[in-house]
């Protein structure tokens, strides 16, 4: 599945986003595995709600972090594509 800016992503059913109080980072938890996220990645994942598109997520983040929307969008697209290729993310 190839994502584009209009894709509406959400985490796959087996994946849970969780704040890890031991490291102060967010984790993606899924069967037998865990992935520690950078804060910027966690900020993207939190908005993958199955309602908003990647373009919308990026523009929200651009406002929130006072950054360039197109930079955020291309970073988000790359990151979410990698998750999708590992069956951790699905599109609504």
């Amino acid at each position: 599945m190839k994502l584009d800016r209009n894709s509406v992503p959400r985490l796959a059913a087996k994946v849970r986003l969780q704040f890890d109080r031991h490291s102060g980072r967010h984790l993606l938890l899924y069967p037998e595995r865990g992935m520690q996220l950078e804060d910027s990645a966690a900020a993207i994942i939190k908005r993958c709600d199955g309602v908003h598109s990647i373009a919308e997520i990026a523009s929200h983040l651009a406002v929130e972090f006072d950054a360039d929307a197109s930079d955020i969008e291309s970073d988000a697209l790359e990151f979410l594509q990698a998750l999708c290729d590992r069956a951790l993310l699905v599109v609504a």
């Binding site: 796959a12 059913a13 087996k14 969780q18 938890l29 069967p31 037998e32 865990g34 999708c84 069956a87």
Partner: protein
């Protein structure tokens, strides 16, 4: 927080099981180990484990569904903030029960499939359970729970690898574990019956890799080679006392499934100590943690931080020295033991397999 943070708790809730798999990783002698922990012990373990850094718990056994308090245990682990996986044969599962487990906070269900052929499966687990398992898997998906299908591979089923992939696809599994038998527990006395040959393995591996690529955005496909056929050993449990804690049904806290079979090591019971003390300080956990215990060739090998010298239990059961280099390593002075054993995968075993039982193990 200690230097070593445990991430996963394996909660072996019960050794009881309706199946009798010939490769079961449970201890051979289960007679004296029937007294199971109370609900409150387990609930305490989940809270302590979370405080130590654990983020996942896997309920296994035996058959965890045989615990009447499984709903409470799932709820307790969920409340502690753990990702909760249930590893089951699927056989005793009822639809209503799965519903209550789901509302208690279950995150994932793993069902083992012995074979896609009922007669072949019966040869492995001693009964005809395939239909019950398929029904259980269908309920899991019907309820929107993620499904892992786990297949233990060996000489008797490796040639049906395509069928396993097809079955997992048909069931819409989210993860497919194709894990070759590790020769521990009941698999060791049954080794001559289970060891595959290289040709079978290579075929299976290529099928699994192709499936992984084709299904990558739908299903995670995992293929684990038997370490008898790799040049260097696996980092057993990610290193002794580094990432995993296993609690046996009777409360013994261990770094791996077989650790209590090692001579001269003492392991503590959850009933008598805090989990943190056991992890940080109990002699059994400290003994093989790190590199101090290593002998040559591991001691000066550059891979020692990656594979930790392999599996201590395999070293003990095959060489008689628990601190030896895992004989599956090509650098081990005992590697001939593995090379010779591999040859058995090319011939026909002369005896029928031994089935797992809670009674006295039958001598071979």
């Amino acid at each position: 927080m200690t230097a070593h943070r445990p991430y996963t708790l394996i909660a072996e809730l019960s050794y009881r099981c309706p199946l009798q798999c010939v490769y079961c990783s449970n201890p051979l002698d289960l007679r004296r180990r029937r007294t199971e922990l109370a609900t409150a012990d387990w609930l305490r373990a989940f809270r302590e484990a979370e405080a130590m850094g654990v983020v996942q718990v896997s309920f296994s056994g035996g058959e965890p569904l045989l615990r009447d308090d499984l709903e409470d245990l799932v709820a307790g682990a969920h409340a502690a903030g753990l990702y909760v996986n249930l590893a089951t044969s699927g056989v005793p599962l009822k639809r209503e029960r799965l519903l209550s487990l789901k509302s208690a906070g279950l995150d994932n269900v793993q069902i083992s499939i012995q074979d896609t052929d009922e007669g072949q499966a019966e040869k492995i687990c001693g009964g005809r359970f395939l239909e019950a398992k398929l029904q259980a898997a269908a309920w899991v998906k019907e309820m929107g729970l993620p499904l892992t299908i786990n297949v233990v591979l060996h000489r008797q089923n490796l040639d049906r690898i395509d069928d396993f992939v097809a079955l997992a696809e048909r069931l819409h599994a989210d993860r497919l574990e194709l894990a070759n038998t590790q020769y521990q527990g009941w698999a060791l006395p049954n080794r001559a019956w289970l060891l595959p040959n290289r040709h079978q393995l290579e075929h299976a591996r290529s099928v699994a890799l192709a499936a992984r690529e084709r299904l990558k955005d739908r299903m995670e496909v995992l293929f684990v080679l038997p370490d008898y056929f790799s040049e260097t050993p696996k980092p057993c449990m990610g290193g002794w006392g580094q990432r995993f804690i296993l609690i046996a049904p009777d409360g013994l806290v261990l770094p791996c499934h077989q650790a209590h079979t090692l001579p001269g090591l003492s392991f503590a019971n959850l009933r008598e100590h805090s989990l943190r003390w056991i992890w940080d300080e109990s002699p059994g956990f400290v003994h093989f943690r790190g590199e101090q215990w290593m002998q040559e060739p591991c001691r000066s090998c550059e891979r020692r931080k990656q594979d930790f010298g392999g599996c201590r239990c395999q070293a003990w059961h095959l060489t008689g020295d628990a601190a030896a280099t895992d004989p599956t390593c090509h650098l081990s002075p005992n590697h001939a033991l593995i090379v010779d054993a591999r040859e058995t995968g090319n011939g026909q075993p002369d005896a029928p397999p031994v089935y797992r039982t809670m009674a006295a193990p039958s001598p071979r």
